[in-house]
């Protein structure tokens, strides 16, 4: 009997190991040994309660294992780690599962992609979402697929959009309850953006929210003529979720064509906006548009950070976003009310943000046919790479790109599946772009400290209870800083630009930190004294 109970317990454990329930996703911060969602939890913090690696021992970090994807291009994945298994996606829609202790692969998946695809910025994928024993991936050919966690076998595969018209997916999905939420890419090709949810069991579409309203829908009037048909407003970064409010916060990208607004007069809703969508119906509860009628490619596709803090003397459910347009926004996430915006670097496109949240534009810096210098540049003061919020320091860590660009603007004809940019920008030829990691106080927008990068970054930030923040540079350095002071604790050159953000997990009592660089994943842990 005792033996039978022991066996039963073992079976239950094995079962629990394979099953990631919605409840586990809601409580992801309670199991820091794993990394269960793109941002490590629904609040978008990219923070871990692990503290084995700390300011006192980070200098003894050393490599534990490396995994080579065997493909080229930007490696933008955020791996998930569940009970000793690491699941990642790679360039060209590759995917893999590894023994998280050794980096040895258990299975590999490679999607057979059509020859001609049009992602603006590389054949990238930013990672899986997980529920039960299924992994969900949104693919470059416009499909959403489910793979079995144990084998990598395809469970279901649905076409969500037409990749021939440049609708592609690069986003890591977000699982909420039993639905898989994705957002489309293609803002450089005149797509009509959307966020959609699929049934995790069957792949059937549950809802879809078009980010450019059609005729008869509210917001349609913000587009002149037929410009809405090619209006862009893609949704290519993973949103956050508040289970209490049952709201999904999903940010959107630039209107198309990004550099020329002559044929899309109006605010161009819901481009460059934060959408608050009912998780069950996809209905819009509220929106906030950061950059109306954008001419600078200021996608608002930065992970929304959900924080419960006092604001002006009373507890409030806040949403923080360090936006590509250069302002750190604080919104009330129950109703979208604008509370504050502060520039966190050099900004010239707007003089300030007014009390209603709208930018006060500077007419002197509008793009024109010959070129206008504007800060931040088109890559933004920050971009899609993750920020991190630490509940210990109460600081928002943001990688910033200190670059100004010369923006030019010209009309362009739309053609299905072709670039639709309305001209281009070039970096300021006089001042070389640099970057920094800034520790921002959300209450004031001020930087408590900053660590200067030689080049502008493409990688984000992870913070931990151990007080260490990890970040990757585009010059290939993976660095660990003291979260309170910004002091450089440790760094290592990984030989290629880092296009992603670190995660951490614990296995057999050892804390690991994993970062993609080049074509490889690198895992580090602290070596004994």
């Amino acid at each position: 009997m005792r033996r039978a109970i022991a066996w039963l317990a073992l079976l239950l454990c094995a079962g629990a190991q394979a099953q990631v329930t919605y409840q586990r996703l809601v409580g992801a911060d309670q199991e820091p040994q794993n990394w269960l969602t793109y941002s490590g939890g629904y609040s978008g913090w990219r923070y871990s309660r692990l503290d084995q690696i700390n300011a006192g021992n980070a200098s003894r970090l050393a490599m534990k294992w490396t995994f080579q994807v065997a493909d080229l291009g930007q490696f933008e994945t955020t791996p998930l780690v569940v009970d000793g298994v690491l699941y990642g996606t790679g360039q060209n829609d590759r995917a893999f599962a590894l023994d998280a202790r050794t980096g040895r692969p258990i299975w590999r998946y490679q999607r057979n992609l059509p020859e001609k695809l049009q992602p603006c910025c590389g054949m990238v994928n930013r990672g899986f979402a997980i529920l039960g024993n299924r992994l969900f991936m949104a693919t470059l050919d416009g499909h959403v697929v489910a793979l079995d966690t144990r084998t990598g076998n395809l469970v279901w595969d649905v076409k969500a959009a037409d990749s021939k018209a440049a609708y592609v997916f690069t986003v890591a999905p977000l699982v909420v309850k039993n639905e898989v939420i994705v957002g489309i890419s293609g803002g450089e090709y005149g797509v009509r953006g959307f966020v959609a949810a699929y049934d995790a069991e069957t792949g059937k579409q549950r809802w879809r929210f078009d980010t450019v309203p059609g005729p008869g829908e509210p917001g349609h009037e913000s587009w002149a003529g037929d410009s809405w048909k090619t209006g862009g407003a893609p949704a290519w970064i993973t949103g956050s979720y508040d289970p209490e409010l049952n709201l999904v916060y999903w940010p959107t990208g630039n209107p198309s064509p990004s550099g020329y607004g002559g044929e899309r007069a109006g605010d161009n809703l819901y481009s460059n906006s934060m959408l608050a969508l009912d998780a069950d119906s996809g209905k819009l509860k509220w929106y906030f548009q950061f950059t109306p009628h954008d001419l600078y490619d200021y996608d608002a596709t930065q992970v929304p950070v959900l924080v419960d803090e006092d604001w002006e003397g009373r507890p409030r459910k806040l949403l923080l976003q360090a936006n590509r347009n250069g302002f750190l926004y604080v919104l009330d996430r129950t109703d979208g009310k604008f509370l504050q915006a502060t520039a966190f670097g050099k900004v010239t496109w707007a003089k300030s943000i007014a009390a209603d949240g709208r930018p006060v534009l500077d007419p002197e810096v509008m793009p024109n046919a010959t070129g206008q210098r504007v800060c931040p540049g088109a890559l933004g003061l920050t971009n899609w790479y993750s920020p991190s919020y630490s509940p210990d320091s109460k600081l928002l860590y943001v990688a910033t790109s200190d670059e100004c660009d010369i923006f030019t603007s010209l009309p362009q004809n739309y053609r299905v599946g072709h670039d639709f940019l309305g001209s281009v920008y070039v970096p300021d030829p006089v001042v070389r772009p640099t970057g920094a990691l800034k520790a921002l106080d959300p209450a004031t927008g001020a930087a408590k400290w900053e660590f200067k990068y030689f080049s502008n970054p493409n990688g984000g930030v992870l913070s931990t209870r151990g007080g260490v923040v990890f970040a990757g540079e585009s010059d290939g350095n993976f660095i660990a800083l003291d979260g309170r002071t910004g002091k450089d604790l440790w760094n290592i050159q990984l030989g290629a630009a880092i296009y992603s953000t670190a995660i951490t997990y614990q296995l057999d009592g050892k804390q690991y930190v994993v970062i993609p660089a080049g074509s490889a994943l690198f895992a580090f842990a602290v070596m004994p004294d």
Partner: protein, 273 residues
């Protein structure tokens, strides 16, 4: 159009033989069309300007397309071919434009005011002597495997740069710095420039040179003795970028107008072999 049978046969027979000639004879169907030029400008900026410069006047990597020098053929058909197929053995890639887009780009390029064609009336042989002896250019620049390594290799500079650009580079070398290393792993990267950097070591020694690479923690440079020097920034007191070229500006005192003409004639003759 339906051809009479015999004539059709004759056309078919001649077709294969005439193919090459026909390719040369194809002309841009949208030449001079303002709408095509506008579209071409937009396509050019999005796709070509990263190498050829915003206004096609040459960038760090691609030649000036207004210089009137078409190394790979100057006819519409030949340039069309260069754009679509790229140039094997160079950095010019094949491009996947629709034909109408390629023609629009060509219409745009042809619409640009040609670079001022200075009269290259100098004596090439005299210029060669200036390059290798009098002006000391070869101390820092290499041509076909001979010369110094501090400045850019000039073996093909005549095919890549217009005469005004060459003159400017000699008289005012700091006006537009040449691009150096571009990290192929970094899709959004900005190449480093051939600018002057001076580091001060912990011991107070000042070392000047051209930066070969640099990041947050380290710097690699070639000093004025053409020796590679590598430093960790934490070991240095100071790193200063001067945002100017190490090359001396050759004023009229150092290089008379006639000598400049000769030197340019020599540089202009340096082409792909």
């Amino acid at each position: 159009m339906i051809l009479p049978a015999r004539l059709g046969l004759a056309v078919a027979l001649c077709g294969a033989l005439a193919l090459h000639a026909q390719q040369k004879a194809i002309t841009n169907p949208v030449a001079g069309d303002p709408a095509a030029i506008r579209e071409g400008a937009s396509l050019f900026r999005g796709n070509c300007s990263p190498c050829h410069g915003l206004n096609a006047r040459g960038g760090g990597r691609g030649p000036d397309l207004t210089a009137g020098r078409w190394v790979h053929g100057s006819s519409d058909a030949e340039i069309f071919h260069t754009i679509t197929h790229g140039v094997p053995g160079t950095e010019m890639p094949a491009n996947d434009f629709e034909d109408s887009e390629t023609w629009a780009i060509l219409a745009y390029i042809r619409s640009l005011t040609p670079a001022k064609t200075e009269n290259v009336s100098g004596d090439r042989v005299a210029g060669e002597k200036i390059f290798w002896q009098t002006a000391g250019c070869s101390t820092c620049h290499m041509v076909h495997g001979r010369g110094g390594v501090l400045g850019p290799d000039l073996s093909r500079v005549g095919g890549a740069r217009s005469v005004p650009y060459l003159i400017e580079s000699i008289r005012e070398p700091s006006k537009e710095l040449t691009s150096g290393t571009l990290d192929p792993n970094n899709h959004y990267g900005i190449p480093l420039m051939y600018d002057t950097v001076t580091v001060v070591t912990a011991g107070g020694e000042k070392i000047a040179g051209v930066v070969k690479n640099e990041d947050t923690f380290s710097i690699q440079l070639m000093d004025t003795h053409q020796q590679l020097q590598f430093f960790l920034k934490k070991d240095l007191q100071q790193v200063s970028h001067e945002r100017k070229s190490l090359m001396p500006a050759y004023s009229e005192d150092m290089l008379k107008p006639a000598q400049l003409k000769d030197l340019v004639a020599y540089l202009e003759s340096l082409r792909e072999e």
